[in-house]
Symmetry: C2
DNA sequence: TAGATTGTTAATCGATTAACAATC
DNA sequence: TAGATTGTTAATCGATTAACAATC
């Protein structure tokens, strides 16, 4: 789904944010160092794999001691490109959009929702999070002005493709699609789908196997 | 993170819901058959892999023709255990909770939010989706009465572990964690974390590589 | 029949893990 | 020094892909 960049395996890149989440939690608990063994417990990843993953980017630990949490947090953030601020455009000002705009975790990682759009005149002008909802017609101009690279789609599924087309032609490079619709994006745009239902279905498989799959 | 059930590779189980999503969209468009090549285009999965994935569960296609969409949808739903109704307990009646409860895609796959809980007395008694918000104290009783197996956590991160403990001891078998907190669950409970920020961070990596990673 | 596409094998590729020497 | 834990190699394991015979 994403063009293979350089030679870092995709699995490694997927796990880095998981490590980061655990490290931030550890730092929050006041810890200063952590071993790969402990990090493995917290994240469910094999300790050897954690060490191997990290060596793709350098050497961050001290033998006999472990990893300095602050250092590793900084390093991973730099690797991911999360060491500076990113502005997000949010398309769709419904319940989901409101939840996303109000989500503190975004700001903690340097993601700021600086523009919200909707095509419902009822919603235009209202405040969501820290910003006023604008009409979707203004999107190209605003995205260009703010040099926004990331868009989040929280619109009804029927509107997803149109919204994707719009943000793509406005110059957005990453789309987070929160609708169940399968949208197509041009080469060079990274699309990430997060349909909660797909994840539920996936997990469901294991439940059906685990017990007698009672029919309801 | 999940106990290895039988001999189906985890990757296969992860992709089935993706196929299902595409198939449902195709059915919605009025199509009746699809080739692995077309399904591969839609989902970004290699056609050979789609065919190989499906053979784990049987033989669903017709050589020279392709797959009957209706049949394949039914089959995948049955494989996943999504061919009957599942009740969900939702913990947290904020914006995110409201978005989840109001999400149509859930019902389309047989997931019904039949109980919503919050510990804020302000929210108890209000309606979300089709149900009245109850105090979290009632959770054990309600989950037991309704024989609920799946819980969705949409609470503040500080409250996540307590909420997880509560639903686990009430007998829930699958937890969908929408908070950034790393929660621990007992053996036998499947935990699925979906922190939107982690996904953003992951995607961000590729953006930083793609262009000159302008500092803002 | 000719064309298309599956089901399946066999080859490749990459990821995971165990093990251990290096070293804090 | 002794104990701990990393960084890294080497072995294993599994997933991906190409190719093609089977067959609709």
């Amino acid at each position: 789904m994403t063009g293979t960049q350089h030679d870092i395996p995709a699995g490694v890149v997927e796990r880095l944010p998981v490590y980061l989440g655990a490290l931030i939690q550890l730092r929050h608990e006041g810890r200063t160092t952590v071993s790969s063994a402990r990090l493995g417990e917290l994240t469910g990843v094999n300790p050897a794999q954690i060490r191997r993953d990290l060596t793709h980017f350098g050497s961050f630990g001290k033998r006999g001691v472990g990893y300095d949490i602050a250092l590793l947090v900084d390093s991973i953030q730099r690797i991911l490109g999360a060491d500076h601020v990113h502005r997000l455009a949010l398309v769709g000002a419904g319940n989901l959009g409101s939840a996303i705009a109000g989500y503190d975790g975004l700001r903690q990682h340097g993601f700021y929702v600086t523009a919200v759009f909707d095509n419902d005149p009822q919603k235009v002008g209202k405040r969501i999070g820290d910003v006023i909802v604008r009409h979707v017609d203004e999107l190209p101009q605003v995205v260009a002005d703010q040099n926004i690279r990331i868009a989040v789609l929280a619109v009804p599924p029927e509107a997803a493709q149109a919204a994707a087309d719009l943000v793509c032609s406005a110059g957005v490079r990453i789309i987070l699609n929160y609708t169940p619709a399968l949208v197509h994006v041009p080469e060079g745009v990274t699309l990430h789908n997060t349909d909660p239902v797909l994840e539920l279905l996936h997990t469901l498989y294991y439940l059906s196997r685990a017990d007698g799959s009672e029919r309801v």
